[in-house]
């Protein structure tokens, strides 16, 4: 399993380890180089100083050893060693403490000796500097001694060596120190990395725990995006959006279940109670006839409900056939309006019809009739007495809109998003059993099949609001 924590740790610790190791090694080698350079510089100076004691006289090489310059070659503590060879390799002079050991060196120039590590007579590690040069000669000119390079006698090789044990000890101590500090830093870094990763990922752990605790009953909770680190704010924002959509969906589902339960259970309860009471307490024929008429009315109501539900289901699953033809809009609306005329008149509704008489639209007449029927019957049903119902039509870019509006009393802007929800009704008690809350659902599904869209707007007025249902169509 991919783990951010493990991934960060596996990258950071070896990375830090490599950086620290490289740094430590670099430091050590730098220090070693400096110390060795100092050692070599001192050796070079020594060799150059000794070289001044080597002179050429009458073609012969002579070494003038001065006691005060030779003490280093005799001492027991950190002794130095030298060897002088002629051009042909003959030993011209060497320090007594060399014994039988030869100081091997590939000589460099007077100013740039060749340095190399050597083994000293008692097995100690040493470092040698070798120079090749032409000894000077001292002649008298006008009674004064003058030093000049020897005209004859050739070059000599001088190798000076010194015990490097102390240098090595110093370097070892520095190495151990750097190593020890490095190990300590690695351990501290590993701890810091672990702590930093843990602390850094803590908000993610908290978020993860919160997400894991979300259930169907806690969808109203929201994550505190403001309190989150910047990297998690967008994640929290999205999660909150998702929760809001889930909550709405669950609420819609709960509403639907409750509404379906009411719409289906209540008429069945009515039918059952009527029948059971009539059977338990039989009365006269007139009472029986009343009971049977009521039962019939309930059966018809349930039949309508079932047929509407099935039709909505067919529309949603695409099994409702669409057959387009030219439909005279005004004539269709007149036919739909006819059965609504009496209820509208009884309520004293003011009706306005702004449909042009000659408009013909290309659509499925059955589906379009269903849409208009539901829009107009809803308008008449829910407009208050003395209110207004209107129907209009406008041409749009490449299409048209049919508008049905009515005055209404109880709808609020928050209700608009629910209007086409199956079984949604403003009256939570669902007292009026003639409307199940499926009309606009069916109208919306029929519109979708016809590639149209049904929208709702509410404009608020002083005493009454106006609901407008608009059917948007792409083509005439």
């Amino acid at each position: 399993m991919i783990s951010i924590r493990r991934s960060l740790t596996l990258w950071l610790i070896p990375g830090l380890l490599a950086i620290l190791a490289a740094g430590g090694a670099g430091l050590f080698f730098t220090v070693r180089s400096i110390l060795t350079s100092d050692f070599d510089a001192s050796l070079r100076i020594k060799a150059q100083a000794l070289a001044t004691l080597i002179k050429s006289e009458d073609g012969q090489i002579e070494v003038e050893f001065l006691n005060d310059r030779m003490t280093a070659f005799d001492r027991g503590m950190e002794p130095e060693f030298f060897e002088i060879r002629s051009e042909d390799g003959a030993v011209l002079g060497r320090s007594g403490n060399l014994g039988s050991l030869d100081l091997q060196a590939r000589p460099g120039s007077f100013d740039a000796p060749d340095f190399r590590n050597v083994n000293l007579p008692d097995g100690r590690p040493g470092r040698a500097a070798g120079i090749r040069f032409r000894p000077v000669s001292e002649v008298e000119e006008e009674g004064r001694p003058v030093v000049e390079p020897a005209a004859a006698g050739g070059e000599v090789t001088l190798v000076v060596a010194r015990d490097r044990t102390d240098l090595d000890k110093t370097l070892a101590a520095i190495g151990v120190g750097i190593g020890g500090i490095g190990l300590g830093m690695i351990a501290a870094s590993a701890f810091m990395v672990g702590t930093a990763v843990r602390r850094g990922l803590r908000p993610l752990d908290h978020l993860s725990d919160r997400v894991a605790s979300i259930e169907a009953s806690s969808l109203s909770e929201r994550f505190p995006a403001d309190a989150m680190p910047a990297e998690l704010k967008p994640v929290c924002g999205r999660l909150n959006d998702l929760l809001a959509r889930l909550e709405q969906s669950f609420q819609r589902e709960r509403r639907f279940s409750a509404n379906v339960a009411h719409e289906l259970r209540t008429p069945i309860a009515e039918l059952r109670s009527m029948a059971e009471v009539a059977l338990k307490y039989p009365e006269d024929e007139a009472a029986d006839a009343r009971t049977i008429r009521e039962a019939l009315a309930i059966a018809i109501q349930m039949q309508t409900l079932v047929e509407t539900l099935l039709r909505v289901g067919r529309c949603q699953s695409g099994r409702e056939c669409v057959r387009r033809e030219s439909v005279p809009l005004s004539k269709l609306v007149e036919e739909v309006w006819r059965p609504l005329e009496t209820p509208a008149r009884n309520k004293g509704l003011v009706v306005s019809n702004e449909l042009p008489s000659d408009t013909v639209i290309d659509t499925d007449p059955g589906l379009f009739r269903t849409i208009v029927q539901n829009l107009l019957s809803n308008a008449v049903e829910y407009a208050p007495a003395g209110g207004r119902v209107g129907i209009g039509w406008i041409r749009t870019n490449g299409g048209f809109e049919v508008k049905v509006d009515n005055t209404c009393e109880s709808l609020t802007p928050d209700d608009l998003s629910h209007l086409t929800e199956p079984f949604w009704r403003k009256d939570a008690a669902r007292t009026n059993s003639s409307h199940a809350g499926l009309g606009l659902t069916l109208a919306s599904e029929c519109a979708r099949l016809l590639s149209m869209e049904l929208s709702a707007d509410l404009s608020t007025g002083n005493q009454l609001n106006q609901l407008r249902m608009t059917l948007h169509a792409g083509s005439v």
Partner: protein
């Protein structure tokens, strides 16, 4: 028994209300939430049958207000809300019983009678007053094993007095229990019902069980010597 039935479905209100009346109960009914609350607060009922989804004020709110005001009347929720959460919510909010629509009328009747019995602290359908036994399930009475033929009004009165045996029941209480809001109780009807009941249960040779406390009311029980 006096029952309040609050249900917004007209058909259900009419059919169930008629059935409860035919079963011998006095029934007040309304389809409106606020009116239902007013009825419940203004009168004493043995049982209230309450729909949940009501216009104006839902059943849960009515229940809450009644319980907050100390009303202990047994309440049965009669509703289409059928989930476990709904039932739990209804019962935990103070309802005494919960019946989901559609329902069997006989079951509603039995549950209502059980709630009323419980309201009187009676656990069985049979109430004994000395050698007089009243069977509230079959709505019959018998003294020393012999059936007593009672009119519906006489039986209602006997059952109420039996639930309150040993207590003085006033005329007003009798009127409230025996008659629904549509009846016009007159004082002599209560007297004549009491008289008719006494004649049938207090037979010659048997100890008198129905006593008048002048100026106070009536009490059913064995006479205290």
């Amino acid at each position: 028994m006096r029952i309040l039935f609050v249900e917004d479905s007209v058909r259900l209100r009419q059919s169930v209300g008629a059935g409860l009346k035919k079963a011998g109960h006095a029934v007040d009914s309304t389809g409106d939430g606020p009116e239902g609350l007013w009825y419940a607060e203004s009168n004493e009922y043995d049982v209230i049958i309450l729909d949940w989804m009501l216009p104006g004020m839902d059943g849960m709110e009515i229940l809450g207000k009644l319980r907050d005001n100390g009303k202990q009347t047994p309440i049965l929720f009669l509703t289409a809300k059928d989930t476990v959460d709904d039932r739990v919510e209804g019962l935990q909010s103070g309802a005494d019983d919960y019946l989901v629509k559609p329902f069997a009328f006989e079951e509603l009747l039995a549950r209502v009678q059980t709630l009323a019995r419980r309201g009187y602290g009676v656990r069985t359908a049979r109430i004994a007053v000395a050698d007089l036994v009243i069977d509230t399930a079959s709505k019959t009475a018998a003294r020393k094993g012999k059936p007593v033929d009672l009119t519906p009004r006489e039986y209602k009165l006997l059952e109420y007095l039996a639930h309150r045996q040993g207590e003085v029941v006033t005329r007003t209480e009798i009127e409230e229990r025996i008659y629904d809001e549509h009846a016009e109780p007159m004082s002599n009807v209560v007297d004549s019902t009491v008289c008719g009941l006494r004649r049938k249960i207090d037979r010659p040779g048997a100890a008198s069980l129905l006593h008048t406390r002048r100026g106070l009311g009536y009490v059913l029980g064995e006479a205290k010597s």
